[in-house]
């Protein structure tokens, strides 16, 4: 797959290339280059299948990492393009015109991460959640346990064990 990197590198300024497996690599792409790279990969290199589009919340650096995973079935390899965008306000160019199915992914990302994709169809309709008032739930700073505790009443009698402490107690009841 490294020949692909050389070919891409000659055309676009690319970031780090991480070869995970012989048939899977990830590469950092600067934001303005993302669309040209995607188009080039789709039309010239045979990466015609958009496997997934998802985000990773790197709250420590205040960034979202968007991963566009493309698959080239003929050469049996996958390439993940990673783009970093600011966390607040999060906005990204829409690619629904390249792959119609990307519109669904973008709807999910807007709802679950609060990333805006201007121009993507039906972006502001409810997708999964309904009547959600908090911050988008997949963001790292959303605490699902605290939210569940405060919203839904618990039935008394439920015991939660810390796995490490519980195993220690089982294996060594005396606490030696």
């Amino acid at each position: 797959m490294h020949d692909l990197y050389d070919r891409l590198k000659a055309r676009f300024p690319l970031g780090e290339w991480i070869a995970r497996r012989p048939d899977l690599a990830f590469v950092d792409v600067p934001l303005p280059q993302l669309r040209p790279v995607l188009l080039h990969l789709r039309d010239q290199e045979g990466f015609t299948h958009l496997v997934l589009l998802t985000a990773v919340d790197w709250i420590e650096t205040g960034e979202f990492q968007l991963t566009y995973l493309l698959c080239n079935r003929g050469r049996a390899c996958d390439l993940g393009l990673r783009a970093r965008i600011a966390r607040d306000p999060a906005s990204m160019e829409s690619i629904h015109d390249l792959w119609p199915t990307a519109a669904t992914y973008q709807r999910e990302l807007r709802e679950m991460f609060g990333i805006d994709f201007p121009g993507s169809p039906r972006l502001h309709e409810d997708f999964i959640l309904e009547g959600w008032r908090e911050i988008p739930p997949y963001r790292r700073d959303f605490d699902t346990l605290a939210y569940a505790r405060e919203t839904y009443r618990e039935r008394p009698g439920r015991v939660t064990q810390d796995p490490a402490a519980y195993m220690q107690q089982q294996l060594d009841p005396g606490g030696h």
Binding site: R133, A148, R153, R155
Partner: protein
Amino acid sequence: MKPELQPRRVTGPDGREFEVDPLRDYYCEAPPAVHPPAYLRIIEDLFNWARAESIWILGFGTGCGAIEMRPLMTPRFDAYRYGIQWRPTPRQANLFVISGYLSVKTLKRVIRSYEQMQNPKYVVGLGSCTINGGMYWDSYNTIKRLDDYLPVDVYIAGCMPRPESLLHGFMELKRIIRAGQAEGANDYARNFAWYKDNQKRVIHDWDMPDYNW
């Protein structure tokens, strides 16, 4: 609120213009009433026997437990021999099997379906997730206690319960019905305000009437 639910003026086929308020016009506003038992004990017992022998389940697979309902419809487990069968519409059903976890979005549809069912009606909570949240005890989108929102007659524990335990749960429900203790619908009517209060606390976009049947 969706545009089709907002009040508007409509021109009918005969050219007359009239006002439509979907939330008020399409539903009965009367709150549910408590259904008293028959005047004679023996008659009520007869009714209860008949109710216990014709349990019609609403075909609404609300969660993953619905996959174990399918074997019940086939000869190996055959729930039909106990008078249990599945109906496609709430109007014909009297048992609502909540098959697993309920997300808030489904809870809203479940309440609507439940309220459209005829009295007397029963609710069976299937799976640990209806009892105390089960696997999804820390999920932001699933309720933890079903009996906060709907009156539950029988819980069937397990994740997910086997068809045999489902059958056992239905037998238990029959026993309760025959003993005249399956008062879920009356409980719902009696504590209507409490149930609505709980429901509205989790369902944030409440775009339906309080009682829709």
